[in-house]
Symmetry: C2
């Protein structure tokens, strides 16, 4: 007997048959006495189809006016989904009603294609829930103060669901997806990878941003900020699975430090092979140099991940960072033709064939020697470390991409993540 938010991804909504299964699952929860709010994504492939049409007409799409139209077009996929899911729920005998973001309303800023949620009015939804209705709300969409339609960016439906759960003070937000939870690492790389029963939201933040792409990173931030209990679970279990069993499945993202005290030092191994590294060699070590280099990069709309600058020699330093591999050539051109001449840098080096491997764990905070164990493990496998960055709960290294699988498997084993009877994880089924 609680207020529960369910979020279903595009695959779960991929056909009328699947939508019918979503409706049956939601109806099961409603019949168990819960107040239900459902946030479905667009049917899989739909957003890409719509943006493909847009791209044919407007290959550039840079001005705010163009981005406004992209949002107008893209958000229709979610609108179709809420209508179809409401019809399916009604066919199940539920009193269901759908809303667009603007009807709730979910208010955002005006940053088309990547808007941020500012506030959610819960009055209309609460009234419907009190009247016994199942409320189906579009993910991804919002409305700005001038009544323009906005979207939250790709994967924004996760954030919508968490934000709605926060506004309604929901007991739990369940994210149904095509994986059955958060794993210690990618099971395709390490068959021994195990599903975590719980993971702290800080760990989840690091895992998500580092490549375990289960949840949109902003949704986790949102959940952390508003302390929304968030569960990732599979939408491929039969809809009529026992509800108590279902309610405990997947991975729960928690906010309680003390729950985690017994946990392993390292919770998971994340990795990312979509990056490339670039280094500006021999730039004068003076105030403003980092901004001088990265300002131009940011202006060219190139996202930067890892940034490393070590101590200088003879008033010169080397400045390294990683970018998405698709941006590698553009970044190199920019650095060679603009940044190097302007800063007086000696050389620009780059390598697109790298990967980033990270160990993540809230337990690292209080355990010394975790990083050194990581470096020793890699050394024993003969893997050279090119770059190192650390934060409180993760340590990342950049290595040659050909060693990625080897590094991930070795680290997974070294930090005992393969173990059969960990208190917090179980074998993959």
């Amino acid at each position: 007997m609680a207020l529960i938010v369910h979020k279903y991804g595009g695959t779960s909504m991929g056909s009328t048959e699947r939508i019918r299964n979503v409706a049956k699952r939601v109806a099961k929860w409603a019949r168990a006495g819960h107040q239900m709010v459902v946030v479905p994504s667009a049917m899989s492939g739909e957003t890409n189809r719509l943006l493909g049409l847009a791209k044919e007409l407007s290959p550039a799409q840079q001005t705010p006016a163009m981005l406004r139209e992209l949002d107008m077009i893209a958000c229709t996929g979610e609108q179709v989904s809420v209508g179809l899911l409401s019809l399916a729920l009604q066919a199940e005998g539920m009193d269901a009603i759908s809303y667009n973001g603007w009807q709730v309303p979910v208010k955002t800023d005006s940053s088309y294609t990547k808007a941020r949620i500012q506030s959610i009015d819960d009055a209309r939804v609460r009234a419907d829930l009190a009247a016994g209705k199942v409320v189906v709300i579009t993910g991804f969409q919002g409305i700005d103060e001038d009544h323009n339609v906005t979207t939250l960016g790709r994967g924004g439906s996760d954030t919508s669901a968490v934000a709605i759960a926060a506004a309604l003070k929901a007991a739990e937000c369940l994210i149904y997806t095509d994986v059955d939870g958060v794993y210690t690492t990618d099971p395709r790389v390490v068959p021994e990878a195990r599903r975590l029963h719980t993971v702290s939201f800080e760990e989840m933040l690091e895992m998500a941003s580092l490549g375990s792409k289960v949840l949109q990173i902003r949704s986790v931030e949102f959940a952390g900020k508003y302390r929304v209990p968030l569960r990732v679970l599979s939408s491929f279990t039969p809809w009529d699975i026992n509800i108590d069993e279902e309610a405990k499945s997947g991975t729960l993202i928690t906010f309680e430090e003390d729950e985690k005290m017994e946990q392993a030092v390292v919770s998971g191994i994340a990795f990312n092979r979509d990056e490339a590294k670039v280094t500006v060699m021999g730039v004068p070590d003076k105030p403003g140099i980092a901004y001088q280099i990265l300002g131009d990069v940011a202006e060219a709309n190139i996202d930067v991940d890892v940034i490393i600058q070590n101590v200088s020699h003879d008033g010169k330093t080397d400045f390294s960072f990683t970018v998405h591999r698709n941006d590698f050539q553009r970044t190199m051109d920019l650095l060679k033709n603009k940044v190097a001449p302007a800063t007086g840098a000696a050389t620009v080096l780059g390598d697109p064939k790298i990967c980033k491997v990270s160990i993540v764990g809230i337990g690292m905070r209080s355990h010394v020697g975790v990083a050194s164990k990581m470096f020793r493990t890699l050394s024993e496998e003969g893997i050279n470390i090119q770059m190192i960055t650390t934060s409180e709960i993760k340590t990342s290294v950049v290595i040659d991409e050909k060693y990625m699988e080897l590094a991930v498997r070795a680290l997974h084993k070294a930090f005992d993540l393969d173990a059969d009877n960990s208190p917090v994880a179980e074998n993959m089924s």
Copy 2:
């Protein structure tokens, strides 16, 4: 230098290539100095695709809650169209902006799937036009007072365009469609059919409802009520056709009686072979009998077209009407099992193999003998007339469907519509 509304049908919006042509045509009008508002339909096939998905999930679709969801789903096709057309206009260098019905807003009642427009706020659109923008507004859509999305029913985009033109006091509303105007009759039946340069809106009403399905009937009513000059023209002329030539093409629907005084007595021949006739024989001729029969029919959601009741004999009368052929069997069952027992009718007869042929012309008002000429023409062709109804500007007969083409051709010739050099019409090109 005028405020002009363009409306483009689904075929004109059927692909990105066609949308690009629409944008070029609109840009041409804008560059000629006109303030432009454009109302596009959904891409052809899109509304049917969406409603097909809905039907898979909800075969019934009768309750207001279900109809609300249908509108939520169906109206997305128009939203995609306005976004795509705006992008295409921007690619042409225009400053274009799109709006959904709810953003204007176009306020309607809450009759989902067949809402009626109640008011249109022109402030936002006027401000955009004053700022030099091309404004692209969804057809078909509205919003009710509780901020629910509504649609105006199939073909409602014509009505949206005319209503928006009325609200903005546009100089002219141009309906671009896949025919190049209104014809004296269907050219597929009578190759000699000619395009009318002008037609009165009363004639257009009769033509539209009788089967010359060029425009949604409600849009013509709206145009008549608010005196919006309405032009039907082809979207298949090259987009770069001379604008003065284009502005005079197609058929103009007029409201000025005196302009029509020189016109032919009969403007066109309409026909419809989708109907079936039913007769309830020998019902008591007493007050309330018509309601007793048709009340049950209306309650079963069966639309009735022609209704005929002649004088009675011996206190009994025969009551005939026509329904859509798809409703024929359902109507017969209803009459036999429910209406006949309740009213004491002797028999129920029906025939689905009929058609309706009508002559339409505002000139009929002041010319006697038009109906008799019609009957004589049919008689000379050996065609038996089964039912007759008349109004001020049309005379309709119901005949055996096998004579339809023969009747239409004979009438087209008899009323001189074939003539080569009529002052108001030209040969089909």
